[in-house]
């Protein structure tokens, strides 16, 4: 064996006793680390199912009749509630990164309210939508009652902000056609037993990722250091440093 070959070093073929212990320990730590992080998330992905919220179920039921213009007042109430629930989450609504659909969504909501009001209340509603937000706030209690929101429902606070200036004309079909996509994007969630089980108050998967994995990382590092200190002493590595 040439001198060059004697000093060859390869992680997978360690030669010295110290290197063998070192690579074995390193491999064990990396395997545990990889399984804990990526293995868990592959598992999470494998067992998840897209689960619609009840608002989406309601929406899917009433939407065909809304498009046919045959929706009953009760169906329109359900639809308005779904619109409002989504807007109440205070998240920007987008179909893709560049298309902000917040205003279109508000328009659909406002027109739905218009449709479910009795004919004699519609004109005053149109006037209300033209008013400043500060004025609108004190005038929406009646509308909240019309769509079945009780006074203490938190969505009543969202109502004045969810309306836009409206002239009573039918909403553009293209705007309406985008609504089901928005609903499906925002009201379907990836769930499984790992997300629906609670642990210390957390959804389990959230606890695992946000708390447990970090604990595991610290423990892995601690174990590695303790073992490596012993291995280094055993093989006389770092001995001069220890003396100094």
């Amino acid at each position: 064996m040439s001198e060059s070959q004697i000093y060859d070093f390869n992680f997978f073929k360690p030669k010295s006793a110290f290197a063998k212990s070192n690579t074995l320990l390193t491999s064990a730590i990396i395997i545990i680390w990889a399984l804990a992080v990526f293995g868990f998330h592959f598992l999470l992905k494998a067992i998840e199912k897209p689960v619609p919220e009840k608002q989406l179920v309601t929406f899917e039921q009433v939407w065909p009749s809304v498009m046919d213009k045959t929706a009953t007042r009760e169906e329109l109430k359900g639809l308005a509630g779904t619109y409002l629930n989504l807007m109440g989450r205070h998240i920007p609504l987008r179909l893709d990164e560049d298309s902000d659909v917040d205003d279109n969504f508000k328009l659909c909501f406002t027109s739905t309210i218009y449709d479910l009001l009795p004919a004699n209340e519609r004109l005053s509603f149109l006037a209300l939508t033209q008013k400043e937000l500060s004025e609108r706030k004190s005038m929406t209690a009646g509308i909240a009652a019309r769509i079945g929101l009780e006074e203490d429902n938190i969505l009543t606070q969202v109502l004045p902000y969810a309306l836009v200036a409206y002239d009573g004309k039918p909403v553009d079909v293209k705007v309406l056609e985008a609504v089901p996509d928005i609903m499906r994007k925002y009201l379907v969630h990836n769930r499984s037993v790992l997300t629906d089980t609670q642990f210390l108050g957390f959804p389990f998967h959230y606890f695992y990722t946000a708390i447990f994995l970090l604990v595991l990382f610290v423990v892995l590092c601690l174990v590695y250091c303790r073992i490596m200190d012993k291995v280094a002493v055993k093989h006389g590595i770092e001995a001069e440093e220890v003396k100094s």
Binding site: R89, H90, Q157, R184, K185, N190, R191
Partner: protein
């Protein structure tokens, strides 16, 4: 007489303090979201100025005497102290502000940053820390230049190191700008100029020794300022407050299930309530626009990037012994985790407290501070929290500026262009490089290109694609040679160049070919998922078909780094 004067002084102090509190309460009692952002805040300003003065005094009393002090703190820091410095150096504006910002906007996707930025330390420890210390070089380019026996690679990796420090710094200056803007009520650009001038001043006068001592103080400020409001929020809203990182779990579940009503209110008097919002906690929720692949890619990229960051690796040279290098990682990671365990608490409370539409659209990057404000935390404590954010950005920026300056002065000027340079010349060049870099970063930060954490993630991908493969193979395979290193580095740099070009073009509204494909698979936050393996593969293939490295390199690696016995 003396007693009367003392009592008078105390009375004056108390009156000033009450005036201070009153002035701040007035600011916080206003009735719309704009007041969360605007106006000069006296209490927070005094806290921040005192803190900065402390940093400068510590910097002055621990001045760098020569290049050894400037770059590696004279190798005199204990493992516990080094752990604190690692944590403080690490916990930047991205950790303090950025992670909560991403979780506030993108829910579970933000946890990829939490896991990526901590899990990378396991790799760093088992694959690099003690080996690099045993190799015994000052800086990352020193290691690469010697291991791959190439001045060209030394120079190239020095430039890459400077670029990494630069892009990392841009995120920090952005964070400093946002906090100075919040505290001083000045426009963002002025806030960046003021903040960067201060951090530049004390980095110049202290260097790594002053910086390392300061970083230990900064760690205490960061963690105390971050934890106090966390305890107060959990206590105030009746969650398990004795251990806030566990206590906020119920907040997450409350967001998923919805809080129909409660007796608690936020600082605007809105009820502590929110409709059921499962998208906040469910994995890769479609509503966030982030999917499973992106979660994994970001997480992996941040991990390999962590193990390749020059300013982190440089910390291993400041401990006296190899064993200390290892233990400093454990301490460092533990100290980091204290903040990372708590960070999602702010996004969770922020989600509920900002539910009411009247709160308006808040800047995500400052959500940590806004959450404390909305939770009616005492204004001075919120001010301390903002000062903690500034401290986090300062500690990282100073480390980055030292790393960038040493890349220029030591690795480029001294080792490549002027090996005869005296210590004084090198110090002069280091100071010039620090100034040039700080000015450049300040200018780029003024453009506000992306969220803080995203800007920082670019630096990680760059490090993961370029330096990480060189360290990994350089340490663990003696067959990796100069040609292989050049090939690997070229592949890593090419992928980086594509990702960053597409990102910048997109920011300026230019659409390049296949931009959807590149934007998804090679996006700037996570392109190391493909860049790192490709660079490693290129290094291995080219090393196998070209001559093996010189005997002395193999021998040094086997004997000094991996403990083989010397023959003959």
């Amino acid at each position: 007489m003396m007693l009367r004067r003392k009592l008078k002084n105390i009375k004056t102090w108390l009156m000033s303090a009450s005036l201070l509190l009153a002035s701040n309460s007035a600011v916080f009692a206003a009735d719309n979201a704009t007041t969360l952002e605007e106006g000069f805040k006296l209490g927070p300003a005094i806290i921040m100025i005192s803190m900065i003065l402390l940093f400068i005094i510590v910097g002055l009393t621990n001045r760098a005497k020569d290049t050894g002090d400037y770059w590696a703190a004279g190798r005199s820091i204990s493992r516990f102290g080094s752990g604190m410095a690692i944590a403080s150096n690490w916990m930047s504006a991205a950790s303090f502000l950025g992670m909560a910002a991403i979780m506030y906007g993108s829910g579970y996707h933000g946890l990829a940053y939490v896991v990526g930025w901590t899990g990378g330390y396991v790799l760093l420890l088992v694959l690099m820390a003690s080996q690099i210390r045993r190799f015994g070089k000052y800086t990352a380019p020193d290691f690469i230049g010697d291991r791959y026996y190439s001045t060209g690679l030394r120079a190239t990796t020095a430039v890459i190191g400077i670029l990494i420090s630069f892009s990392y710094c841009v995120g920090q200056f952005g964070g400093i700008g946002i906090m100075f803007q919040w505290i001083l009520g000045v426009p963002y650009v002025w806030a960046v100029i003021i903040g960067s001038s201060v951090v530049l001043f004390y980095t110049l006068i202290s260097g790594m020794l002053g910086v390392t001592k300061n970083q230990q103080i900064q760690y205490v400020i960061i963690i105390v300022s971050f934890l106090i409001p966390a305890f107060m929020l959990t206590w105030k809203f009746d969650y398990f407050w004795l251990l806030p990182p566990i206590g906020y779990g119920q907040v997450v579940s409350d967001i998923v299930a919805g809080v129909p009503s409660s007796d608690f209110v936020n600082s605007f008097g809105h009820k502590y309530a929110i409709p059921a919002s499962p998208e906040f906690a469910m994995p890769w929720d479609p509503s966030t626009g982030k999917d499973f692949f992106q979660w994994m890619a970001v997480c992996f990229s941040l991990m390999v990037g962590t193990a390749g960051l020059p300013h982190v690796i440089q910390k291993f040279y400041v401990v006296p012994k190899t064993s200390d290098a290892r233990w400093s990682v454990v301490w460092g990671l533990f100290f980091i985790c204290i903040l990372y365990w708590t960070s999602p608490l702010y996004s969770s409370f922020g989600k509920i407290l900002s539910f009411h539409p009247e709160v308006g659209k808040l800047s995500k990057d400052a959500i940590v501070v806004y959450t404390a404000q909305l939770g009616s935390i005492n204004p001075l404590i919120v001010g301390f929290l903002a000062a903690g954010a500034v401290s986090a950005a300062f500690s990282t920026v100073s480390g980055l500026l030292v790393a960038g300056a040493s890349g220029f002065s030591h690795d480029l000027y001294y080792r490549v262009f002027n090996p005869e340079a005296s210590n004084e010349d090198q110090m002069k060049m280091a100071r010039i490089a620090t100034i040039v870099m700080a000015v450049g970063v300040g200018i780029v930060a003024a453009f506000k290109l992306a969220l803080i954490a995203q800007l920082v993630a670019v630096a990680f991908s760059l490090a993961g694609c370029t330096l990480f493969p060189l360290f990994l193979l350089g340490i663990w395979w003696s067959g990796s040679n100069k040609q292989g290193a050049i090939a690997g580095l070229s592949v890593g740099m090419s992928i980086s160049l594509i990702a960053i070009t597409y990102f910048i073009a997109g920011k300026f509204g230019v659409t390049l070919p296949c931009s959807d494909f590149v934007g998804y698979y090679i996006n700037p936050w996570s392109y190391a998922w493909i860049g790192a393996p490709m660079a490693i593969l290129a290094n291995i293939i080219v090393s196998l078909i070209t001559p093996a490295p010189p005997l002395e390199i193999k021998k040094f690696l086997a004997v000094n780094v991996h403990g083989a016995k010397e023959v003959g």
